[in-house]
Structures are given as C-alpha cells and as structure tokens.
C-alpha cells in the first residue's frame, strides 16, 4: 500500500507537520477564546451590540476560506501569521455565540439572588455567570477547534505548513499515499480534539447540570477524577511537544533565510535543493515555506519581506509580474525582467538556471494519432472538436490560453479549469483530450503523453531563475555564487529525471534533492 510505505518512510516529517498543525490550530483557537469570550460577554451585556457583532462574525464565516486566505496575503504576507489570523476569524463565531447564549440561559432567579446577597458585577461574572456558561463555552470551543483543524489544512496554500502541506503536495504530484498521510492524521487529530474537548466539557459542567450525574453522584465524581487525569496528561503532552517545537523554531530564528516554493513537485525539489545547499555551505538556517499557492502568493510574500528567496521562471516573471506581452526572445526577457524587478520591486534575479520548464500542450498518444497532431498548428485545425483541461493559472495568463488562441487563431470546444495532477487523471480517463503541461513534468513520462510542438514559437521560454530580495543579497553576497553553481548541473533532462523520481516513484523531494546535491558534489555530506 502507498500509504503505509509513505508513512513508514516519512514518519518524522509527518510528525513534525502534525505538531506544526496542532500548534497553529491551538494558537488560532486560543486567540479566538481570548477575544471571543470577552466579546460574547460584552454582547450579552450590551444588547445593541448583539446584532452587529454576531452579524459580522457570521459574515466572516460565510466567506470561502480560500478567498479569506487570498485577502490575507497582501495584508499579512504568507506563512503562519495569515493562516492563524484566518482560522482565528473563523473560530470567533461559535465562541462568541455560545458565550452569549450561555450567559443568556442563566436563570434570572439565580442572578437576582446573586445581586441580592451583595455580589458586585464582577463577582457575579466570575463566580456565577462564567462557571454556568462554561459548558456552552466549551461546546463552542469544541466546534471551533474541530473546524479549525480542518481549516488549517488550507493554510498550506499560503505556505504555513501543517498537514495540508502533504495534502496539497500529494494532489500536485498525484501521490495518493502522500494525500492520505496528510488527510488521515488531520482527520484523527480532529477526532482527538473533539474527544478531548468533550471530556473537558463534562468536567466543567457542574454535576448538578449533568442529567445523569445526580443519579450516582459519587460514581460521577470518581469518573470525573479519571477524566481529569486524562485531560491533564493530554494537555501536558500537547504543551511539551509544542514547547519543544517552538523552542526549535526559536533557536533557529537567529540567522535565517526564508525560502519558498510553489505547489508542484519540481518546485519542492528546487526548494529543497536551495535549502540544503545553503544550510550546508553557510552558517545560515533555512525556514521553508514550500508548497505555496503560486507566483502571486510568493511574490506578495517577497514584497511583504516574509520571504527571501525562491525559484520562479523567466517567462512568468516577465508576463505575470511585470505584465509584459509574451515574448520568446529569451535574452530580452531576462534582461528586461532583471532590470525592472530590481528597479520596481528591489528584487534581484540571479543567473538563470540551465533547465527550462516551458508551457506546452500535451495529448495522449491515441488522440495524437486520431487527429494527426504533431504541432500546435495541427491542433488549431481540430481544436474546436476537443475538450481541454487547463490549470487555473494557464487559463488566466496572457502567455497561456488567451494568447495561445489568439496566436494560432482557434478555440476549444470546451475548457475546464483543473488544477494540479488531476488534469492527468482527466486526460487519462478521456474526460479531456488536451491539457497544459510543463516540459519538465515527471508525469508526462509516467503517462506517456505527447507534447505538441510550438511551431509558431508562441510560448516564451521559462528558464528557472532564482529571485532573491536585494537587501538579503546585500547581507549575504556569498549566496549569489553559491546558487549560481547550480546552473550547469541542473539542465532540463536532469530536472525531468528528478521530477520523475518524485512524481512516479513517490520519493520525497527532500531525498531526491539531497541525492542530487551529493551526486554533483555540491554538498559535503
């Protein structure tokens, strides 16, 4: 089985991601409690605030999580912070609402007695209202936490890590074992959180409010002691593991280079290559933000100074970031990009790498044969009979579908947006006949797909190019020479081979990267 071998080989990584997942979730939910409970109390005291505040938290919950993550990037950059903030916002509603409901359900008789015996408002709050609200509050925290565990998997989209990293990477590389290695622990974690918090819920519910407790109060007290023990052990384990991992990340934060990557396998490999190369040859430590959602996410992060270095592609920089019309003149593209990026965004383009990973359209051998497809001009003839499955990025880029249809003057019968490796599945199953691909994709080899020749030279060349923030390069000028060493060693064939190892052989990108570096003598271990 995929999943078992994956779990077996990557136990440490999964464990680390799980802890990271728990930590991010706990911080987000913890903040939501700190903010939500006082807000709930405020709302229950100041009735006019009820509607606007509950309405607002409702509204936040109604925004699709992906959209909220997208909004968070320009404001907060990438990584843990925006993810925590987004999950925090989602967790607010159940906590605020349940606190408010809990306070509202307390019998007015009890409150009157409390005032009558001479309690101050504050005493009533913490001696009467809060304890009697706790069961409701905990129910809210429980809902919020379980939701947050699920939501946090989305956070990998903006490079925050956590178990979602495995899910996204698994989808990108069509590695079911990897998807399950992320999804199953996430699922178990949600169940564990639910179970643990339900224990806490009974513990904080006064015996007298538990319908079954009073039939056997002594037994219930005994059971509660056992539950208390379990909860104590669980929270000790949680705190310890979070503490060590927090210490870990803190101790590393002294001299750090933050490296990013996109979601697909090649990017993971490149990210890992940069990471090992730098860690082995300098005294810098690397903080990785691998698997982020795309150029826009990473570029925003660079501008927010959340990210120092990642590898993009010349054509992408030229068209996507600088909004230039697509061009296939590689020299001009690089020169203009280098100058503009430095001038406008203070980002340095290092020397482009040898390999290029261009856009290409791929078809299955059967389709190729049936329609006699060799070139894109051939495709233009029959395009109106074919269904295409393209990545969302390809659909929206000037050097993607839009320009292509213009350049070759045709259009497809039907176009669907399918991200990641699922396009291969769609093509394989015959739902689509044509897809976009990167020339280095390992999956092309796996599925024996045929690339169509770009006979009009429409697609610009996409050479891998390291982007580094100018101020970081100034601080660590040695990085330029170090990274430029990769140039010769990383040609298109090598890249394809490395991708194949990850995509087809399901080997972890970090291992593939490591072997490559050792083979090339770039690291000393």
């Amino acid at each position: 089985m995929d999943i078992f071998s994956y779990l077996f080989n990557n136990g440490t990584q999964i464990w680390f991601l799980l802890i990271e997942h728990v930590r991010l979730t706990a911080i987000a939910v913890g903040m939501a409690i700190l903010v939500g409970v006082p807000l709930g109390i405020l709302v229950s005291y100041v009735r006019p605030l009820n509607k606007p505040i509950l309405g607002l938290t409702n509204l936040i919950q109604a925004i699709p999580s992906m959209a909220l993550l997208g909004f968070a990037i320009p404001l907060l950059g990438i990584g843990a912070l925006p993810a925590v903030v987004v999950v925090f916002l989602y967790s607010l509603l159940p906590i605020v609402k349940n606190t408010c409901t809990g306070i509202g359900q307390i019998s007015p008789q009890i409150l009157e007695a409390a005032v009558g015996i001479g309690m101050t408002k504050f005493q009533i709050l913490y001696k009467i209202q809060l304890p009697l609200t706790l069961p409701f509050l905990m129910a809210g925290v429980r809902i919020a936490s379980v939701t947050a565990v699920g939501l946090m998997t989305m956070a990998a989209f903006i490079g925050a890590g956590g178990l979602g990293f495995l899910v996204f990477s698994g989808i990108a590389s069509l590695n079911n074992g990897m998807i399950l290695a992320g999804a199953i622990p996430a699922c178990l974690l949600a169940l564990a959180v639910d179970g643990g918090l339900s224990l806490v819920e009974t513990l904080v519910t006064p015996l007298s409010l538990q319908p079954n407790a009073l039939r056997d109060p002594a037994g219930q007290r005994r059971r509660n002691r056992i539950k208390k023990g379990i909860v104590c052990v669980l929270s000790a384990v949680l705190l310890f593991s979070m503490g060590t991992s927090a210490y870990h990340s803190w101790s590393r934060s002294a001299n750090v280079i933050r490296i990013g990557s996109k979601q697909f396998s090649e990017q993971h490999i490149l990210g890992n290559i940069l990471k090992e190369l730098i860690e082995d040859n300098t005294n810098l430590t690397v903080e990785s933000h691998f698997g982020a959602g795309g150029t826009q996410v990473l570029f925003e992060a660079m501008q927010k100074q959340d990210l120092d270095l990642y590898i993009d592609y010349t054509g992408t920089v030229f068209v996507d970031i600088l909004k230039q019309p697509p061009s296939s003149d590689e020299k001009t593209v690089y020169e203009i990009s280098k100058k503009e990026m430095a001038d406008r965004y203070n980002i340095q383009l290092l020397q482009p790498l040898r390999f290029h990973n261009d856009y290409a359209l791929a078809v299955s051998p059967e389709v190729s044969e049936k329609y006699q497809l060799k070139t894109l001009s051939d495709l233009a003839r029959v395009g109106s009979q074919l269904t295409a499955g393209f990545t969302l990025e390809f659909l929206n880029r000037e050097d993607g579908l839009k320009g292509l249809e213009k350049a070759y003057d045709f259009s497809f019968a039907h176009v669907s947006g399918i991200d990641g490796a699922n396009r291969y599945i769609a093509l394989q199953s015959g739902n689509t006949q044509i897809m976009d691909a990167f020339t280095t994709d390992g999956l092309l080899k796996k599925f024996h797909l045929q690339l169509l020749q770009d006979d009009k030279k429409f697609f610009p060349p996409y050479y891998g190019v390291p982007l580094i923030r100018a101020d970081v390069l100034k601080r660590h000028p040695e990085l330029a020479a170090l990274i430029n060493q990769l140039d010769e060693k990383l040609d298109t064939t090598t890249m394809q081979e490395l991708n194949y190892q990850v995509d087809e052989e399901h080997r972890p990108p970090s291992v593939v990267a490591h072997e490559f570096l050792v083979q090339q003598g770039l690291i000393h271990k």
Binding site: A113, V115, G116, G118, M119, T120, P206, S208, L214
Partner: protein
C-alpha cells in the same frame, strides 16, 4: 425601625408604587400581601435597592439607604427568594461559604458558622457536600434561609419564599421561621400572597392594592376589623374561622336581661325569674355593674324567708371569662367545668355579658350560616 417616606416607583407612565409611607417596627415579622401586580415584590426590592426608587426615601435605623453603597447595603440584609436562588454549580457548603466570603469572614470560621446555621435551620451536616439539585424543595429553601441568616443580619427580606412548596413542607417551614424568630428576633419583611401564611407568621400585615397600602395592622386587627370592604373581601369573611384564637369572648357573648341587685329580695327575684322565663339571675352592683354572683330557682326554693336579700344566698364560684379570652379557651373551659353558661367580665370585674350554650352554638354556627346567606 424601617421607615418608608412617600416611596414612589414608576416604569414609564405606569406607576407601580403610589407614594407609600410606612413604618416597619424592628424585631418583627412584617408580611406584605396583595394580589399579583399590586407592587408587593417591587416594594420589597426597593428596600435592598434591587429596584431603584423614582422618588421618596427609605431609612433603615435613620440612615437613608440611598446614601449607602448598594453592595454594602445588600450584604447587611438577608435575602430569600422563591426558587431559592441557590447557585446550582456550587455545593451547599460552597453556597453558604460564598456569602461568608462576601462578608470577609476569616476562612477559619467558615466550618463552625456553617455547621451552626445548618443545625439551626434543621438540616443535617451530610447535605453539605451535595448540590442543590440533590435536595428536596423544602431542604433547598432551608438552605436559602440559612444563607440569609448565616451572616446574622438584622434585616431579612423574603420574597414569597415558600410559595413553590407543597402545603405540608410549607407549614413546617413556617413553623421553622416562627421558632427561629423566637430565638433571633430579626426584622423580617415577608412578601406572600397567602393570607393564611401571613396571619400565621406575622406580627404586622401590610395589605397592598394597586400600588397603595390598603391597610396596615396586626393580623388580629385586620381579621376582626377589616378597615375597608376590599380588605374584608380580600381576607374573606370566614377567614377568621381559620384562626379561632382571634375570636374573643366579647365577639360571642350576648347581653343579659336577667340581672338583679344584691339587695333585691328573693321574692322579687322569684318574680323576675318567672317573668323572663329563665332559671337564674346575675347579681351585679347597681352603681359599678360589678359582678357579684348568681342565684337560681333551686337556691330560692330552699329558703323559707323570701324577704332575704339576694346577696345572702347567691352562688359565688361561677365560670367566668375575660373579654379577650379566645374561643378555643372558652370552649375548653366550658368543657372542663360542665357549666351551661359563662359570665364575661372586663378587667374591673364589671359584668359585660353572657356566653350560654345557645350563644356558643349560634357563634360557631355563624361560619356556616353566613355562607348560606352569601349564596
């Protein structure tokens, strides 16, 4: 003394308390009674400032409560409410300790004070670690009372404390309050809608109607001399039969026509007896109306000389009753002495009237006869 001066409470246009002035004597149980919506609970809650006054003043021992911090004020006043208001998430011990904590009682004394009060209100120690929901309604309300008493306040407010209890439990708690009051002599303001309860436990009753005080007085006064038709109607005409101790000799005696003076001759007495168709005469002093004795036909017949004055042969030991003696007392005396009649005297031993078997029957029958008349 708790003095209410022109106390008014208004919610918008709705005036719930119309300028109420009252003086509540210390060391007494004072019931505030009336139909729902009459403002009785509102009035009670103005005393511990749970409800702020619209205008007017309330003084406790001369001190205006408006000038006191409401929290400090409430800590000095015991408060018992209908549904007990015990805190469901605390054990009985914790419920009681909470009040002590508010008073900043040293922690070392908690155990002793709680034990004392629990004994006092007739609960057992083994209830202390339990939660309110584990107790019966009566036990819960005993805890409620204990909570009000534990800090030994001079003034205790009770807002329909026993209304939710079954009649037997209610009666036993009323007895408990009376027993405690004999020991503690607190000032207790007690809101109730149950007239029997008010009559049973109160020293004074304040009957309210639509935000006014309709009448204020002792239970006896209110029962025997309802000041207005509303009061009479409220207490019910037969209510007094639930409290026969408030029916006095003067209420059931009849005036007598069979009188004679000590110096009247027996002959004259004999004549009188025959005229009024009675078999005895009551001997009274002509000036002071002072009771002297009785003579009857049997005594006169024994005498040869009918010129003797009545004073010489009159019978001395007779059954007498004071004006204020209650009906149960009279009935037991009648039963004990086997006398067909009793003479009712005032404090100066002046003759006031007679209670005969027929007048007793008539008086006792009134509770039934009146009823049929009412129909």
């Amino acid at each position: 003394m708790i003095t209410l001066e022109r106390v008014r409470k208004q919610y918008g246009d709705n005036e719930v308390l119309h300028s109420i002035s009252l003086s509540l004597p210390l060391g007494e149980i004072i019931s505030i009674i009336g139909r729902s919506g009459c403002g009785k609970t509102t009035l009670l809650k103005t005393i511990n400032r749970l409800i702020p006054l619209t205008s007017g003043k309330i003084l406790i021992n001369g001190q205006d409560i408006q000038s006191m911090n409401p929290v400090t004020l409430r800590r000095k006043i015991g408060y018992v409410i209908q549904q007990t208001g015990l805190f469901p998430h605390m054990t009985i011990y914790e419920n009681l300790a909470t009040v002590l904590q508010l008073q900043q009682t040293p922690k070392a004394e908690y155990a002793r004070l709680i034990q004392e009060i629990v004994d006092k209100v007739g609960l057992t120690q083994k209830l202390l670690p339990r939660y309110p929901a584990e107790l019966s309604g009566g036990q819960q309300q005993r805890v409620g009372v204990a909570r009000a008493l534990i800090t030994n306040p001079e003034l205790i407010l009770m807002d329909e404390p026993f209304s939710a209890l079954d009649p037997i439990t209610r009666a036993s708690l009323q007895d408990e309050i009376l027993r405690l009051q004999k020991m503690l002599h607190k000032t207790i303001v007690f809101v109730t809608h149950d007239m029997d309860e008010a009559i049973k436990i109160s020293d004074h009753i304040c009957l309210m109607r639509n935000g006014h005080v309709e009448t204020f007085g002792t239970p006896e006064m209110i029962l025997r001399h309802p000041s207005t038709p509303y009061v009479e109607n409220f207490i019910g005409r037969h209510r007094i039969w639930n409290s026969p101790e408030f029916i006095k000799a003067e209420d059931i005696m009849i005036s007598a026509t069979n009188l004679c003076y000590p110096q009247d001759s027996l002959l004259r007495c004999m004549n009188k007896i025959q005229n009024i168709a009675q078999d005895y005469l009551i001997v009274v002093d002509p000036d002071t109306n002072k009771f002297r004795g009785l003579i009857n036909v049997r005594l006169i017949r024994k005498q040869k000389n009918l010129n003797l004055p009545a004073v010489d042969i009159m019978q001395q030991p007779v059954a007498t009753a004071k004006m204020q003696d209650s009906l149960p007392f009279i009935l037991s005396t009648v039963k004990k002495l086997h006398r067909p009649y009793m003479v009712v005297l005032d404090d100066q031993s002046s003759f006031q009237g007679l209670i005969t078997q027929s007048s007793l029957v008539a008086a006792l029958g009134r509770q039934y006869v009146d009823e049929t008349e009412a129909i």
